[in-house]
């Protein structure tokens, strides 16, 4: 069984240095940000950025930046991305100040309008230049909002994809699927906000929570890697007797998940399971087994689990994946081509193929089959390719030595964040490490015999169909 020993709280402390900023750009972004704030988010700074003073004033975010004082005079951008762009340009100084010091920046924006479409890509770019890792959460407009808005949104989305490390894209149309036809339009938008809020929180938790098997940012990017894509995101939480099953069912029910049907086409799925200290191995196993039914054999499963005292009785399952919509219209290396070109940053392109190559070569099945001694070793090992610090590294390195060799970025550990990991990582070993990272936990082949196909009886977190002596580890014979 997994047990959380006292020492495990240590990594958490370290991570507190990892400054996270969540930025809402434009009206929709502000709404999403408000939702995140209201739902409660610790260790992150919330910044609302808008052209519209009124909307800015009503936001509950901790800090606010008004852009386009001259261009829009405190009004909105009027649905014109050009205006939004210029507004952001004008306030570049203030924006840089607001973004300073962030290691990780989440940019939430509703695309299709003026401020969101125009300013968000610029802000993402600035954040990136500042050395932060940028994840953009973009909502695409409803189809009924008109073709023009959709076109603007798509353009902005491409721009965002170019400048961010990952883009999580929410299609409002799909979001509307779960809202009752009779429900007010407010509710439809609220669902979008809630989903964004959940996913930001989930991603923050994925990266921050001290994990027994931790998921690093690299895995996150691997999961979201196919660009120009539809993001599959699911989050479920439950505290019932059958919480493992229920949390997963809820996660699969998410509007962006389509009941897990779309998971079958995904290349890589990131799964993060977290729960209170009472979470059992069996429960984790139940989730993984059920999830395996929803994905193809070749799909790479990036698996992480963490124990958090704050979760109490609850257990949550987060699924993140992406699906190339039109046969991967945008191949990965195109991502940060032109805009970032003046800055010496070409190696950014590099991680992509690296991550792509690895997953495909090792099917997840074999990984699980390989036994590993203890989850404990994992924790120290898995965090190794911590890219969170990498951009920072690069920024430091870039001005001095131009264009570090592409491979370097991948190889470089994150000394600032996980200094204790460094010795483990002989560069030569690197490839091996990446492969080994996932094999972390070997599940004992627990069988339920006669009850294999029946509904499991789960009481107090234990699957009662599994023989008692097996669960209690009593040796017979």
């Amino acid at each position: 069984m997994i047990q959380l020993s006292r020492n495990y709280s240590l990594p958490e402390k370290k991570e507190d240095d990892l400054a996270i900023k969540i930025i809402g750009v434009g009206g929709a972004g502000a709404n999403a940000l408000d939702r995140i704030v209201l739902d409660g988010m610790e260790h992150a700074e919330m910044i609302a950025i808008n052209t519209d003073v009124q909307s800015l004033a009503s936001s509950v975010a901790t800090s606010k930046v008004q852009i386009g004082r001259e261009v829009t005079r405190g009004l909105g951008a009027g649905g014109d991305p050009e205006l939004g762009y210029h507004a952001a340009r004008e306030a570049a100084g203030e924006l840089r100040e607001a973004l300073a010091g962030a290691r990780m920046v989440f940019v939430c924006a509703g695309l299709g309008g003026g401020t969101g479409s125009g300013a968000a890509p610029l802000i993402a770019e600035m954040a990136h230049e500042n050395g932060a890792l940028v994840v953009a959460f973009a909502t695409l407009p409803f189809a009924f909002e008109g073709k023009r808005r959709t076109a603007q949104a798509m353009e902005a989305l491409h721009e965002l994809q170019r400048v961010s490390d990952a883009v999580v894209c929410f299609e409002n149309d799909r979001m509307g699927d779960i809202v009752l036809p009779k429900a007010g339009i407010h509710q439809a938008f609220a669902v979008a906000d809630t989903t964004i809020s959940q996913s930001v929180r989930a991603i923050v938790n994925v990266v921050r929570r001290p994990g027994l098997i931790r998921i690093g940012f690299d895995e996150l990017i691997a999961a979201l890697r196919s660009q120009n894509s539809r993001c599959l995101f699911g989050f479920g939480e439950s505290d019932s007797d059958n919480r493992a099953h229920e949390a997963l069912a809820l996660a699969l029910k998410n509007p962006l998940m389509n009941r897990g049907k779309m998971l079958t086409d995904a290349q890589a799925v990131l799964v993060q399971i977290s729960g209170g200290p009472g979470m059992t191995l069996t429960e984790v196993e139940i989730v993984m087994q059920e999830l395996n039914r929803h994905v193809e054999d070749h799909t790479q499963i990036l698996f992480g689990t963490s124990v958090d005292g704050k979760m109490g009785n609850r257990m949550s399952v987060t699924l993140i994946s992406s699906l190339s919509a039109e046969g991967s219209a945008q191949p990965a290396p195109m991502r940060r081509a032109s805009k970032t070109a003046p800055k010496p940053e070409p190696p950014v392109v590099e991680p992509e193929p690296a991550f792509e190559a690895e997953p495909e070569s090792i099917p997840i099945a074999t990984e699980y089959a390989t036994p590993l001694p203890e989850p404990v070793t994992t924790t120290s090992e898995e965090a190794e390719p911590e890219p969170v610090a990498e951009p920072a590294m690069e920024e430091d390195a870039a001005p001095v030595a131009e264009l570090p060799p592409p491979a370097r970025r991948v190889r470089k550990p994150a000394p600032k964040i996980e200094p204790e990991q460094t010795p483990e990582l002989a560069p030569a070993k690197k490839d091996k490490c990446v492969q080994a990272r996932q094999e972390v936990m070997q599940f004992e082949p627990v069988t339920r015999g006669r009850f294999e196909k029946s509904e499991p009886t789960i009481v107090e977190g234990q699957d009662l169909d599994v023989p008692t002596f097996l669960r209690k580890n009593v040796r017979v014979k």
């Binding site: 009662l464 097996l470 014979k477």
Partner: protein, 403 residues
């Protein structure tokens, strides 16, 4: 059925289906006329998973019972179990109109309806609302309020409910045969009717019915049901554990459990073995007796511990004056009463149906407790109904009008 005091109880168990035909005597006792049974297939953990197969098995059992009792079965009382069954206690309340202060039957019905007006999940249906006690104007401990004076009638009910579709499945399985379903009864409630006497119910007792697929329990204190429920673990699990632990087939594990199994640990000689005979009679595998017992012991201990934790949600476990009565097929396991006594810290014994006449072999077998209990329940129900329609009912109404 020829006469109305012939009653049939049908229990669709996980390991066997039994049909008991009984005759209610005017003095309240029951005579067992015949017992039909058939091995059960298509049932897991007390619930039907293979409709067609289960139906065939029920048919077999019913035919068997008809042959044995020489009676044509038309309608039955069925026992229901399964992990979906839940229960809780609730209080209903009605206030009488200003101008009236005598409580009549209508008020009692109203208070019952009132008590049911609690939210159970949408897909669930009520199985039983069992009265615990009435309170009139805050004065408690009233047993029969009709005719008493008061303004405010309250009643505590123990409400048992389950998922409607799953209950319907069992009913449909019987109706397809075709047989009429008179009523549906929670099996532990049925078992308790014959395992416990009224006196024992008053003193406080816990009935644990460990069947093939489920463990059903019901707790009485002060003559009223206080807690009840189902744990979807039963004899099947023990057999499965043995089969997996000793790596032998299920059928042989089942046989080994019945013939050699015991829950008592440390009672055998070191290295004592049981010889598993091959089908052909040749010596097969040797199994260490202590290993076998350990497997059984661990499972049952865990089951009892889970039960205890569930029961400890409410304080009634301390009021068991009569202790624990274990019935159902699994109660035949050697030493199970000692184990229960050890876990619960209350006297426990294996028990079977009492106060019967007729086929001794039937009612002394704990496997039939629930099915016989169904008959007892049926008798109580019919007893309830008759006076209302019969002479006493008329007389009662007459007297009411006079007053």
């Amino acid at each position: 059925m020829a006469s109305s005091n012939l009653m049939v109880g049908l229990e669709i168990g996980t390991s066997k289906i039994c049909v008991v035909v009984g005759e209610g005597k005017p003095d309240g006792t029951i005579k067992i006329l015949g017992v039909g049974q058939a091995p059960s297939r298509g049932v897991r953990k007390g619930e039907i998973v293979d409709f067609e197969t289960a139906m065939k098995c029920v048919h077999e059992a019913v035919v068997d019972a008809e042959e044995k009792s020489d009676i044509m079965i038309r309608s039955v009382y069925i026992g229901i179990t399964g992990a979906h069954i839940q229960s809780f206690n609730n209080r209903g309340c009605v206030t009488l109109p200003e101008e009236r202060d005598e409580i009549d039957e209508q008020d009692v019905d109203d208070v019952k309806i009132n008590a049911r007006e609690v939210s159970i999940p949408a897909q669930n249906a009520f199985l039983h609302s069992i009265i615990q006690s009435y309170h009139i104007d805050g004065h408690d401990g009233v047993l029969s309020p009709v005719g008493m004076l008061g303004q405010r009638l309250e009643a505590d009910f123990h409400i048992i409910h389950g998922v409607r579709n799953r209950i319907q499945n069992t009913i449909r399985c019987v109706k397809e045969l075709p047989l009429d379903v008179e009523d549906v009864v929670f099996t532990a409630f049925a078992s308790a009717q014959v395992v416990l006497t009224q006196h024992q119910k008053n003193l406080g007792a816990l009935v644990i019915d460990i069947g093939g697929g489920t463990t059903d329990y019901i707790l009485y204190v002060d003559g009223a049901v206080r807690q009840s429920g189902v744990l979807a673990v039963g004899g099947d699990h023990i057999t499965n554990d043995i089969s997996m632990g000793l790596r032998i087939p299920m059928t042989r594990a089942e046989k080994l459990k019945i013939e050699e199994g015991s829950t008592v640990l440390g009672n055998c000689l070191p290295g004592e073995t049981v010889l598993l005979k091959d089908d052909s009679g040749f010596a097969g595998k040797e199994v260490e007796r202590e290993t076998l017992n350990t497997i059984i012991h661990m499972r049952l201990r865990e089951t009892f511990e889970l039960l205890k934790r569930r029961l400890e949600d409410e304080p009634y476990l301390d009021y068991l004056g009569e202790g624990i009565f274990i019935t159902g097929g699994c109660s035949q396991l050697n030493g199970i009463d000692n184990l229960a006594e050890e876990v619960f810290g209350v006297p426990a014994r294996s028990s079977h149906a009492r106060t019967m006449s007729g086929l001794t072999s039937a009612f002394e077998n704990p496997q039939f407790s629930a099915a016989i209990g169904l008959i007892k329940y049926a008798q109580a129900m019919q007893g309830d109904r008759q006076p209302r329609g019969g002479i006493r009912g008329l007389m009662g109404k007459f007297f009411q009008r006079m007053r």
